[in-house]
Symmetry: C2
Subunit: 254 residues, 2 copies
């Protein structure tokens, strides 16, 4: 029983369905059995990537793609070049998402399903959500959960993250320093995402919150070129946008 | 490069390895390809369950188990009958975990691997962590991330949970009402776990925090008998211990 069932269940049977498939943190073997089946059965796949770069999502899904599968590459015009609170960023992304929706909708209206390949978990900070929010009213949408990028990093770092009654807080490093420091101080466990240019600020916030000595830095977790070290041991402030910091909880441990 | 590499890498080659395998939220198809491979290759599996009940973990893994695989059932003497802050609970759990460690260690010392089947993600509120913490110094331990129970609930409820720069807070409903209310009020998105006997308190906290109208109640998410509804529409205060409440974020959406 799902009392939240959306209008999409009333969609006309001749329309195609949008299938959002979570791919996990990067290792193709961390794709679920269900995702592998859905990808293998797909006639049309879509995936996001930065313009001019290979798509991570496509690379993870590659071992499961059927020969002759049609591919729709959705190429971000900008990612981190413009601050996300600038009107230019917002309008550029808006136009991009509208264009993606038009391309996907054209296939669905032709009666064909579109399998959208999503890194990590589709409903946790995923670009899939922007398509879902715009297409769910008219089309049938299926969602297959995936191993989150965070979970991939926990395992890569071999870090038990949250125990018993720990509070776990997931924070974007884009927050201002005061807010980062206070949130880090008042939680039991934390995951900090989107380090990139925010690294030096996060280092100061972690020091103020008194958590820097148990924090861990994870770069490319569960992917080739993985780097994991104590946060305090990182000597420079250079970090890719998708690196993470983990502050493991120390909760109830009988 | 993993600068956190533990002493376990120096373990004597003739000892067996502990392999912690995340099984996902409940649907056997949400097991990862890697987990399915590891389970299929296992000669000895261990799993937790409540004494007198079937093991959820074993049920999820069942389709992948090799014939003749040896099974070690680790049966909790208590779960929620005694409050977790009572000395009786702590000592009972302590004895239980020590007994589990002894049973697993005996197999590892005989040179055989033990594959510990873990619901959800092994490093996020998992019983696996108690074994890992006690065995990692002496034995080689491998960890395979899984789809978390939370992610299973997001998909089951079809709820985009965290967008862009949302802060996501994971809260145990065991916290006192004031703390629940303040944490719910100051986060963008929340997952509340372990509802059980804490349901009425959580309802009051959600009302005070002004989030009850967008909260969702999920019971047995991604499992048979799944129930999903608007939290505000739930008329009684009865909820299983492992039910969850979701408060979806409303963050940046170009």
């Amino acid at each position: 029983m799902n009392a939240l069932a959306s209008t999409s269940h009333e969609a006309v049977a001749t329309l195609g369905a949008l299938i959002g498939v979570g791919l996990g943190p990067g290792d193709p073997e961390l794709v679920t059995v269900k995702a592998a089946r859905l990808i293998g059965a797909a006639n049309v796949v879509a995936f996001f990537a930065k313009r001019g770069r290979a798509s991570h999502a496509r690379a993870i899904a590659a071992p499961y793609l059927a020969p002759g599968c049609e591919e729709i590459a959705l190429l971000y015009p900008v990612t981190t070049e413009i601050p996300f609170d600038q009107p230019e960023y917002v309008s550029s992304l808006q136009r991009f998402y509208e264009d993606c929706v038009m391309r996907i909708r054209a296939v669905l209206e032709a009666g064909r399903d579109v399998t959208l390949l999503c890194e990590g978990d589709p409903l946790l900070y995923g670009s899939f959500m922007h398509m879902f929010a715009r297409l769910d009213a008219r089309f049938r949408v299926e969602i297959c959960a995936g191993v989150s990028g965070m979970s991939g990093c926990f395992a890569a770092a071999r870090q038990p993250m949250a125990w018993g009654d720990d509070i776990l807080t997931v924070l974007p490093a884009t927050l201002d320093e005061d807010r980062l420091a206070s949130r880090l101080a008042e939680t039991d466990a934390a995951v900090v995402m989107k380090l990139g240019g925010n690294f030096a600020k996060l280092r100061r916030a972690m020091t103020r919150a008194g958590v820097i000595d148990r924090a861990i830095y994870v770069e490319r977790g569960a992917m080739p070129g993985e780097k994991i070290m104590r946060f305090a041991d990182k000597r420079d402030d250079e970090a890719p946008y998708f690196s993470m910091a983990l502050v493991p909880g120390r909760g109830r441990r009988p």
